[in-house]
């Protein structure tokens, strides 16, 4: 009896502790987010690749060598805000940018994108909650049809409301594709979770970072090929790349450094 009571009181204590910790953590996270937001636009201007060199110490040979390797293929970089949504934002911007002067591909993409909402609704997503996100996404595609100057697209991606709605929709597309192909993706999910649980914990909530599995799903959901250059502390002096889905002809190039994606340009 006494033990039982102690147990329940310990549960209560944990409640108190975790709340205090959570609040402190949330407050700190907010501060960090604010700091990041102040110093990084959601999507930056295109910069010379040399900015990367300055980010690492001169005697940081691993990275300096790899940046040299990167130079062989790319000349520019566009940075995204490191807020956990960088993959989606980088992908969204880079892809629409690449479609600005390719109206044939743009029309193909528009068809895929406009049909995608129906697929999600058929999968059980509530129509009225996802349609705002879909509409925002379609608005941007229509903006691209008018062949605006690049700055206009960049402005849209730096408008937090628009930009985040696009991220939400890309997350929904990723989640939808993972769930549609759950029998395949189930094998790649760690921690004994179902694909649905994984989507609810790691895909749909904002600020959850993306891994291979997210990239594969989104690339396939939208039928877009993505090349990711992986730059980390691994030895070898060269940057490894990976194309999603394998064997595709990539239109967009992303630079991955642990925990973050930026856009690369040839």
């Amino acid at each position: 009896m006494a033990e039982e009571q102690q147990e329940s009181s310990q549960g209560e204590m944990e409640g108190v502790n975790c709340l205090a910790y959570d609040e402190a953590i949330i407050a700190q996270q907010d501060r960090i987010q604010q700091e990041i937001a102040n110093s990084n636009p959601l999507v930056s201007d295109r910069q010379d690749l040399s900015v990367l060199q300055r980010e690492y110490a001169d005697d940081d040979t691993v990275y300096q060598l790899k940046i040299k390797d990167l130079y062989k293929k790319y000349s520019y970089i566009r940075k995204t805000r490191p807020d956990g949504n960088c993959f989606y934002r980088a992908f969204g911007f880079a892809h629409l940018e690449s479609l600005l002067d390719d109206s044939k591909e743009l029309q193909k993409f528009k068809a895929v994108a406009s049909k995608s909402k129906l697929d999600l609704v058929n999968e059980g997503f509530t129509e009225f909650t996802i349609e705002d996100f879909h509409n925002t996404f379609m608005d941007l595609i229509e903006l691209c049809e008018k062949q605006p100057n690049l700055q206009e697209l960049l402005n849209s991606f730096n408008d937090q409301n628009v930009s985040d709605y696009v991220v939400v929709y890309l997350r929904l597309l990723t989640s939808g594709y993972l769930q549609r192909e759950h029998s395949f993706f189930q094998h790649f999910i760690e921690g004994g979770r179902s694909v649905k649980e994984f989507c609810q914990q790691e895909v749909e909530p904002m600020s959850k970072e993306s891994d291979h599995i997210h990239i594969i799903a989104l690339a396939q959901a939208l039928n877009v090929s993505i090349l990711v250059e992986y730059m980390d502390r691994g030895e070898g002096g060269t940057v490894n790349h990976h194309v999603f889905p394998e064997g595709g002809d990539p239109r967009i190039f992303l630079l991955y450094r642990p925990g973050h994606y930026d856009i690369l340009y040839k």
């Binding site: 006494a2 033990e3 204590m13 609810q200």
Partner: protein, 327 residues
């Protein structure tokens, strides 16, 4: 209402849509924005059948952040129910201990269904949660029908469609239970946090003194929330003093019945202590703890003495025997 808000704001656009979607009450839930504020809604939900809340209809507020639906709504129950504290913000939120997080594709309806699904789950001491006895909850369920909201003029008897025998709640019910597992409710407002913290520390101390022989591990664990409580108490004192005990941040006083129930819930913990002087709680538990500590120390000394007496007697007897033999 249309003229008052910027229709370009994503939150306004979305909330208008949700208001239209939820316009007509269902058998299980209903929610609408207040006439003068699109960002505050009032809702009514039916207590899930096959639970202690069967027959109850519960009313509450939903407060939407300007960033909605990117940020979750906050929910405040107004009807005493025995599961959630009245007048305290519970929000569908992030917690390091629960990986589930708000998703922008969820809606107010999702939140309502989650509340229904959440009612029969155990409070387990979570902040903003209550674990009343089934009897008390059933009594509150019955009484909930009499509730009439002054703000939105909504009476619980007519707030929802009446349940018909043909209505099949199982689909909704299933969805509710599923959601309840995903969503984590958590208290938010800081003054309510202090209140709950002190309550947490309070009940902790009482149980450990009841449990008499407290191990050092528990002792350590027990010290932790108390330190927090002590740190928090200056601000808690400022914030809480003008309010009645366990008063919600809205300043809405609890009904006597509710208060009695809460006291019952923490039976024997207050021991005639003045509930209004919350800051005084901080040192008090330590004293109790010390008493129980002294008690066990005295017991140990007594037992040691008794043991020593027995050993001496044994030796004495042995020696006596030896003497006898020699004589």
């Amino acid at each position: 209402m249309e003229g008052k808000y910027n229709l370009k704001s994503p939150a306004v656009k979305r909330l208008m849509k949700e208001a239209a979607e939820l316009r007509d009450p269902t058998e299980h839930y209903h929610a609408q924005p207040l006439e003068d504020n699109l960002f505050e809604w009032h809702f009514s939900v039916r207590g899930p059948p096959d639970s202690d809340f069967d027959g109850g209809v519960y009313h509450g507020r939903i407060v939407l952040p300007p960033e909605y639906p990117m940020k979750p709504p906050s929910i405040i129950l107004l009807t005493p129910n025995g599961r959630f504290e009245v007048g305290k913000k519970i929000c569908l939120s992030i917690s390091g201990h629960h990986p589930e997080t708000w998703q922008p594709s969820w809606s107010i309806r999702t939140a309502l269904i989650a509340i229904i699904g959440f009612m029969p789950t155990k409070g387990e001491g979570a902040i903003g949660s209550l674990d009343y006895t089934p009897e008390e909850r059933r009594a509150l369920a019955k009484k909930s029908q009499d509730f009439c909201c002054e703000t939105c003029g909504c009476s619980m008897r007519s707030a929802l469609l009446t349940l018909t025998p043909n209505s099949n709640p199982s689909a909704e019910d299933h969805q509710a239970k599923r959601l309840a597992q995903q969503i984590n409710f958590k208290a938010e407002s800081s003054s309510s946090r202090h209140a709950s913290e002190s309550r947490g520390a309070e009940s902790e101390s009482s149980t450990s003194s009841q449990g008499d022989a407290s191990t050092s591990a528990e002792q350590e664990a027990a010290d932790e929330p108390r330190t927090e409580q002590v740190e928090a108490s200056p601000s808690a004192a400022e914030e809480d003093r003008p309010l009645p005990p366990a008063a919600p941040s809205t300043g809405r006083p609890l009904s006597p019945r509710q208060r009695r129930a809460q006291q019952q819930n923490q039976q024997g913990q207050r021991d005639g202590r003045e509930p209004a002087s919350r800051p005084a709680f901080a040192p008090a538990p330590r004293q109790q703890q010390d008493e129980s500590h002294t008690g066990s120390a005295v017991l140990i000394v007594l037992l040691t003495l008794a043991l020593a007496a027995l050993i001496f007697r044994r030796i004495y007897l042995a020696q006596e025997y030896k003497f006898d033999f020699e004589l």
